[in-house]
Symmetry: C2
Subunit: 312 residues, 2 copies
């Protein structure tokens, strides 16, 4: 058996098995059944070493995060993840690295009963591409395009934490031990808000996950829905470690512009019947195009940076 | 608009639109409908520059081949390709390169009415991952695992051509102009045998596409089916350019061990009702495990190499 086969076997046997997978890894393609009344929801995300995660990131965290960012896309659609494929490009066959990487991936796959139905392993610079497939009852998926003037805007959890963790890793700031552990955990092991997304079907008019920063990602909702918004920046949900580690202004900059938190941002006109999820009201959708960040006093707040962009 | 957005727009608008794509590129995920009575067939393949194609390969050929190898997996399953996602990692935004790459991809997508439903564009060493989705009537997909003793073994088209083209590019051999053009075209622009695969549903007991070489890929059928085989090497379908460019022994080595031809290899016990496809009988499935290559005189032929393996 070649190393090539060994790797494949390594990933195949331990992942959750599902009855809707008719033929899993080991043929030219996998065969799956989508139940009638359900739509297929798919997304693909690539993580490149040194671009999407620091080179010093532990392999188990890389494996975890590679799946987490894809699950987060399912959360943003209100879908239930079911199957994944993995295209792993790595410079060499390092058994220990692969064991740890697959362990992190497996942990999150098991927690969400996601089957690994296919993959490709190639030699090259470390790059991880995962495609996730989910299911959603027909015509109930959350989209970016449904925000309406008058909608309230919410975010789940807290934002800005992952950005602070990255700054700590990049030695731009020194944190207390507990703040460092918390924020780096938020960066490396984001929690995809799957249950929240599913509970928001029929409630939210629009939704997105925050991968590039609140301003950038809310901006996608605004563009897709052809609306504007006012954000009340004093309402932004900031964690205690974030508030205690940096100035209020820096905390706001991170909350508005740092990515990688993978919280959901959604809009709704049904605030009175919101499901029981941890979320915070942060502003209103308006007919006037553009995004206005307002202080408690009603002044315009102009953040310095505008989210992470590749190829800058 | 950022370069990031520009790239995305570049790929979105020109690809075939399909009625079964309910939401295409531009949200957190795509939404598609699988018709009842059909199963979803998916496969993922990565091409790394310098590993899966020579660095000098034209971008339009890279785009074409990246989809072709995935369509070939659909062919091997007897599936009809419908949707694709593209994860493109490239070192820089080179508009001309991207235009040519997308042109090659588009050409084959249009010919097969495949929608591009999602993607991710990241900065890094040139790596192209495509996931293809296809549909097949439930329980009719071709698999590797159904070969039975007594089955006849067939291959479509001719084999060994792409290997000769690669040898020419690597300056291991000098070919006539016409032979060079033909074999490099076979390497860079393989024809996925989609129609053949679909016609073989209900006829073939097993099938695979030849990406790593006949011996390696037929070996996968034998392993999955727990059978053996005898090949009659004088029956191998060799093209005129291959036969005229190298010795008979080299031609056989290439036909048996070079990959990248993307022809189908299949087995059947229904040779008398084979559909009207271009294919050649090359041997028999046997109960005795292992693969025996036999000359016309019945002697054992031992090829020198055993297919392409990564990480060698």
């Amino acid at each position: 058996m070649s190393e090539f086969d060994l790797i494949s076997r390594y990933f195949t046997t331990r992942f959750p098995q599902r009855a809707d997978v008719n033929l899993g890894i080991g043929d030219d393609a996998a065969i799956c059944t989508v139940p009638s009344g359900m739509q297929l929801v798919t997304s693909i995300d690539t993580l490149v070493a040194g671009v999407h995660f620091p080179l010093i990131t532990k392999p188990e965290d890389i494996g975890y995060k590679a799946l987490a960012v894809n699950l987060s896309d399912m959360a943003a659609m209100g879908a239930t993840p079911v199957w994944m494929t993995l295209a792993l490009t790595c410079p060499e066959v390092d058994a220990i690295w692969l064991q740890k990487f697959s362990q992190g991936l497996l942990e999150l796959a098991q927690a969400n009963q996601v089957s690994l139905i296919g993959g490709d392993t190639t030699r090259g610079p470390l790059t991880i591409t995962i495609q996730i497939a989910g299911l959603v009852p027909s015509n109930t998926a959350l989209k970016r395009s449904g925000a309406k003037p008058g909608d309230s805007i919410y975010v789940t959890g807290t934002i800005g934490d992952a950005g602070l963790g990255l700054a700590a890793i990049n030695q731009q700031i020194t944190l207390s031990k507990s703040a460092q552990e918390y924020t780096i955990s938020r960066l490396n092991r984001p929690t995809p808000r799957l249950q929240e997304g599913q509970l928001l079907r029929g409630i939210a008019n629009s939704a997105i996950d925050i991968s590039d920063g609140l301003i950038a990602d809310l901006g996608h909702i605004l563009a897709a829905s052809n609306v504007g918004a006012s954000l009340q920046i004093d309402k932004l949900p900031l964690s205690k470690p974030l508030r205690e580690s940096v100035s209020n202004e820096t905390a706001l900059e991170l909350a508005l512009n740092a990515g990688d938190d993978y919280e959901l941002c959604f809009t709704t006109d049904l605030s009175t019947i919101l499901p029981d999820i941890s979320c915070t009201y942060i502003g209103k959708i308006e007919a006037d195009l553009g995004l206005r960040c307002l202080t408690k006093q009603g002044d315009i707040f102009s953040p310095k940076t505008h989210g992470y962009q590749h190829f800058n």
